[in-house]
């Protein structure tokens, strides 16, 4: 096989893995959302969809939903701006999907002579890339609000735009602290930096240097702003299906489904980013490239392939846990009002993240190296 084809295959494989992971997680989250909320509220949740009587705890419901949405009438309001109306859900979904590309899901995989970084796209400024893609998602929302020719949708779109701008400012400012600690904007480097030991002179090699320990304030700020960026409860006033209706009132069928999908995919992206920046990404505690090295002296040598698989599994597990946590938040907190969320974003999160940057800078400068 020619090297060009091999390169193409590897690139396709990397992108394909991430796409599969994100899309499946997004689809699965529709099930998790129903089931988790049910379990939290002493209910059972959706369990009726079945194939040949096989129910599998309602796992077929995402499939049934997809069929339902694909076969529903695709209604376009008479005065709508047809081109933008059709484009808007696509824009929402695409930017949410590509955002995950810069998040590493494993360390370097060595096959023969080749070294394959387990990341869909290798970028020097991966954080900025994810950030840029997330910030472009707002166009889908604004286009939907505008193109529907519905004043409620327009207001919803404007609320969404205002929310996402204030959330993104806070996200951008809070990840700067992480970038400062690990000295890079490349997500791979940041994740590698989290494999080292925290305060080795005092704690030995017991505790890994994860972002949540070095940047606890940034973690809370990022998570809050990240939830706001997904436009889900408690920050769901852009849509607020039941009361204040939002930017996708006029949408039906699969286009509506794509907006929902974009929200779920954004949840996965936020979970992935939190994992990569604060929870050590694909790092398994005490797992080095050649196996486990425990601080009490024991070590378990492992083959390269095992280590890589363990790392990818660890990443998937952490992302799942984060998704679970985001769902927990979504089903626990009541909705913020528009002005409350703006106040929180601009007067709470933003100044605090600036404070975090200043404190981090002082610590880095003043820390006895």
């Amino acid at each position: 096989m020619s090297p060009v084809l091999t390169d193409l295959g590897i690139a396709l494989g990397r992108v394909g893995f991430v796409m599969l992971f994100v899309l499946n997680m997004g689809g699965l989250l529709t099930w998790v959302e129903r089931k988790q909320s049910a379990v939290m509220q002493d209910r059972i949740g959706a369990n009726r969809a079945s194939i040949f009587g096989l129910r599998l705890f309602g796992l077929f419901h995402p499939l049934a939903d997809a069929i339902k949405m694909l076969t529903k009438e695709d209604f376009i309001p008479a005065r709508a701006d047809r081109a933008l109306f059709n484009l808007a859900p696509l824009v929402s979904v695409v930017f949410a999907l590509v955002a995950f590309a810069a998040i590493p899901f494993g360390d370097v995989l060595r096959v023969g002579e080749r070294e394959i970084p387990l990341q869909a796209v290798t970028l020097n400024a991966g954080i900025l890339y994810v950030f840029a893609m997330l910030s472009l998602g707002v166009y889908g929302v604004m286009m939907a609000g505008w193109a529907s020719a519905n004043n409620y949708a327009l207001l919803g779109g404007q609320r969404a735009a205002a929310l996402m701008i204030s959330a993104e400012v806070a996200i951008g400012a809070s990840i700067m602290g992480v970038a400062m600690v690990y000295g890079s904007l490349d997500m791979m480097t940041i994740v590698r930096g989290q494999g080292a030991a925290l305060l080795p002179q005092y704690l030995g090699t017991w505790i890994p240097r994860w972002g949540i320990l070095t940047q606890p304030l940034a973690f809370v700020l990022f998570l809050t702003a990240g939830i706001a960026a997904t436009k889900r409860i408690p920050f769901d006033f852009p849509e607020g299906e039941s009361e204040i209706i939002g930017y996708f009132v006029e949408y039906s069928g699969m286009k509506f489904g794509m907006f929902m999908m974009a929200d779920f995919v954004e949840t996965v992206v936020i979970a992935g980013m939190t994992t990569a920046l604060f929870l050590g990404g694909w790092q398994v505690p005490h797992l080095a490239a050649d196996g486990f090295h425990f601080p009490w002296g024991a070590s378990v040598p492992l083959s390269h392939m095992t280590v890589v698989i363990l790392q990818v599994l660890a990443f998937c597990l952490k992302v799942s846990i984060m998704c679970w946590f985001l769902m927990l938040v979504r089903w626990t907190l009541p909705r913020f009002r528009y002005d409350q969320a703006m106040r929180l974003g601009w007067l709470g999160l933003f100044p605090l993240s600036i404070l975090n940057i200043v404190l981090t800078g002082l610590l880095i400068l003043g820390w006895p190296a």
């Binding site: 939290m40 209910r43 059972i44």
Partner: protein, 182 residues
């Protein structure tokens, strides 16, 4: 508000703790039920309706039935009390002479339009002969047309009272337009 409550995050964490505790407790119960086949653990208060039913209260007003005499004829004497008292005007009676001279009349037609009925039970209260009751325990009747919601005397006479726990003993009457097509 106390200081701790003004600082929203602490209260958020408390709330998350409550919901997470519920989640894990229920998850454990579900696991015990489905994996370890525990009979007592119930992770949810849900009643899985068509398969599982809660016992109905004996006072529940369900589908009407017409009570029969010993000889099988309707006990109803077509006095029109129920038709008069019905606030929804869903009862339609046509009276006829009864062969037995001791009994004044008998209904020739006794139709109840269940599409209109509000299940107030006034007809049961008004009946001087205790000829109409609402104790069949049947709640699931439906039709594809308004015509199908009109139940005739023959149907109403054929119904049985519900069992002691409220389970219906007679089959749900299926209107003609809902009958499975051959």
């Amino acid at each position: 508000m106390r200081f701790r409550q003004r600082f929203y995050l602490a209260e958020v964490l408390v709330g998350l703790g409550v919901t997470a505790a519920h989640f894990f407790a229920n998850l454990g119960r579900h696991t015990a039920r489905h994996v370890f086949r525990s009979k007592t653990a119930r992770g949810a208060v849900t009643v899985q309706y068509p398969e599982e039913r809660r016992p109905y209260s004996p006072r529940l007003r369900s589908l009407h039935r017409l009570v029969r005499r010993e000889d099988g004829s309707p006990r109803c004497v077509a006095c029109m009390m129920c038709e008069t008292v019905c606030p929804a005007r869903c009862i339609y009676i046509v009276a006829a002479e009864h062969p037995n001279p001791e009994i004044e009349k008998v209904p020739e037609r006794f139709d109840i339009d269940l599409g209109k009925c509000v299940f107030c039970g006034y007809c049961v209260e008004a009946c001087p002969e205790d000829a109409i009751r609402m104790d069949t325990g049947i709640l699931e009747f439906s039709s594809y047309s308004r015509r199908g919601m009109i139940y005739s005397m023959e149907t109403l006479l054929s119904l049985e009272p519900a069992g002691p726990d409220g389970t219906p003993r007679s089959p749900i009457p299926i209107p003609a337009d809902r009958a499975p097509s051959p």
